[in-house]
């Protein structure tokens, strides 16, 4: 059973999607470590180290995702998490923006997968299976 860390980054309290992600990934055979809302980069990284997680799924809904995610990849590497997959999804920037641009920005920041608003976790399951198996 593969472990994934999920949570909502920054000063973000959007809890609904997080609860659903927890439920759906668990139902689909993952060991889900849910650090919940209002989580810092350190919280994600510590949880991933402690549980030997194969992927970190960051949610950001409230718009500050771009600020909150800066240097996340670098922090992971510094902490020795150099193989962990980094996913980000939700409403990760402020406002309705062209998603191609947004994806590029986040990929450049070192994220492996970037999801546009409204992509349900059910749809991302395929990618997760492909990237880390079950």
């Amino acid at each position: 059973m593969k472990t994934v860390v999920i949570g909502v980054i920054g000063a973000d309290v959007h809890a609904v999607g997080n609860k659903i992600i927890d439920y759906v990934l668990s139902e689909n055979g993952y060991n889900v470590v849910n650090i919940g809302v209002l989580s810092s980069q350190e919280d994600f990284i510590n949880a991933a180290i402690e549980t030997d997680a194969k992927a970190i799924l960051i949610s950001s809904l409230y718009g500050h995702g771009e600020i909150d995610c800066r240097f996340m990849r670098e922090q992971c590497e510094e902490a020795g998490l150099d193989k962990v997959k980094l996913y980000v999804g939700g409403n990760i920037v402020v406002g309705k923006q062209d998603f191609n641009d947004v994806e590029k920005r986040f990929k450049k920041m070192g994220f492996d997968r970037v999801y546009p608003p409204g992509v349900k976790i059910e749809q991302a399951l395929v990618d997760l299976k492909e990237d880390i198996g079950i």
């Binding site: 609860k19 718009g63 500050h64 600020i67 402020v94 406002g95 409204g118």
Partner: protein, 485 residues
Amino acid sequence: MVKNEKLTMEEFLRIRKEILQGWPTGSHPALELDEAVKRLKSVPPHKNFALKLRKAKEQGVTLIQPRAGVARLDEHIELLQYLEKEGRADFLPSTIDSYTRHNRYENAEDGIRESDKQGRSLLNGFPAVNHGVDGCTKVYKNINVPIQARHGTPDARLLSEIICASMWTSNEGGGISYNIPYAKTIGLEDTIKYWQYVDRLVGYYYEQGIELNREPYGPLTGTLVPPSISNTVAIIESILAAEQGVKNITVGYGQGGNVVQDIAALKALEEQTNHYLKLFGYEDIFITTVFHQWMGGFPSNESDAMGLISFASTVAALGNATKMITKTTHESQGVPTKEANAQGLRASKMVVNLLKGQRMPDSKEIEEEINQIKKEVDSLIHAVVKAGKGDIAQGAVNAFKRGLIDIPFAPSEMNNGKVLPARDIEGKIRILELGCLAFTDEIKEFHHQKLAERAKIQNRKISIQMTIDDIYAISEGVLVGTEKG
């Protein structure tokens, strides 16, 4: 232990001194109380939130207000002016950014700086504390309708001081409604105290002859919240505010989607708020209602969103809400552009204007739903009072601790988090998992019956999957979720 007791002036001033030191902008001379009173007295009636609400209520009209806020001052002013002119907003907001909500003024400062650099807002709202009294006063001066702070701030004491001194005449929030849906580890006792302070400030101004409006935040998590739960919170917060001397209160409710239930909820909310305020000895409180257009996940298609927005407006008008908070076609995507925001406002305005004076006729069906909601609220309030041995503030803290009140999908650890709502076959929001909710057996049975009925008609089990399907449903264009094959 927190109590529902009016803060003495002494205590209030003691806390105040401390609060104003929270950030450099707290030292602005307008924050001398005398100076602030003078400023507030200069607000003309048409820019006073409380008075405009009184007039609207008298005329029986539904007024509209958007959400809106960006990082940079001038851009924010431009945004509000646009919404006033193009959107025909009756009230303006300043939606506060999330760093400010968590008192992270340094982060907010960063956000402003970065926004200036990039020439676009990187914050999800207006950092009012950082802009301070000068910035906020400039906002007030550049618009022609009343303005309110809308946020989600557990500790909004400094923010509230600054906006009042800047002649903003309403403030949204409450010790429960701005904690449980907006925080994770902050104690309920603490936030109730913080908001007693905010209410005391408003009470103080009232003693000086200035009527300000306060608005407990109604929709909570915005996600399938059963009306009796949100109404109960609104009533508790109204009582807490009244004790501190607040006289003009707008209680809120977020659209559920079933017309009968929504209109019943609005009526029950107004009647029971008035009822309980009197029962607790607060006689002269002026109550209005605010209806929030659908607060859960929105459809991504813009026409779908317009349909939903206008449908909500129909319900608000027929339900005789005094105010309505509008959404936009960008809701599912991100903070809206000013154009999208104005479009939502205009569509909403069109509907409430056409429905001016029109009401949902009284009927047995609505009557029954009103009675159901009232019964549930009575049951919850009873439990709260009992849990506090007569004190509603203590009662609230204990009731949340024991799960007697429990808000679905809330992030707060102060919340029991056991309740799971789901829709019945008509789309009315009922409760699937009751947790420790302080409901009588009769009420519990009612909810179970309603969901059993749906399960039978939809040929499925009563399970959390119903809840999940219902969470996705409206954004997918239906009200009652169905199992995907």
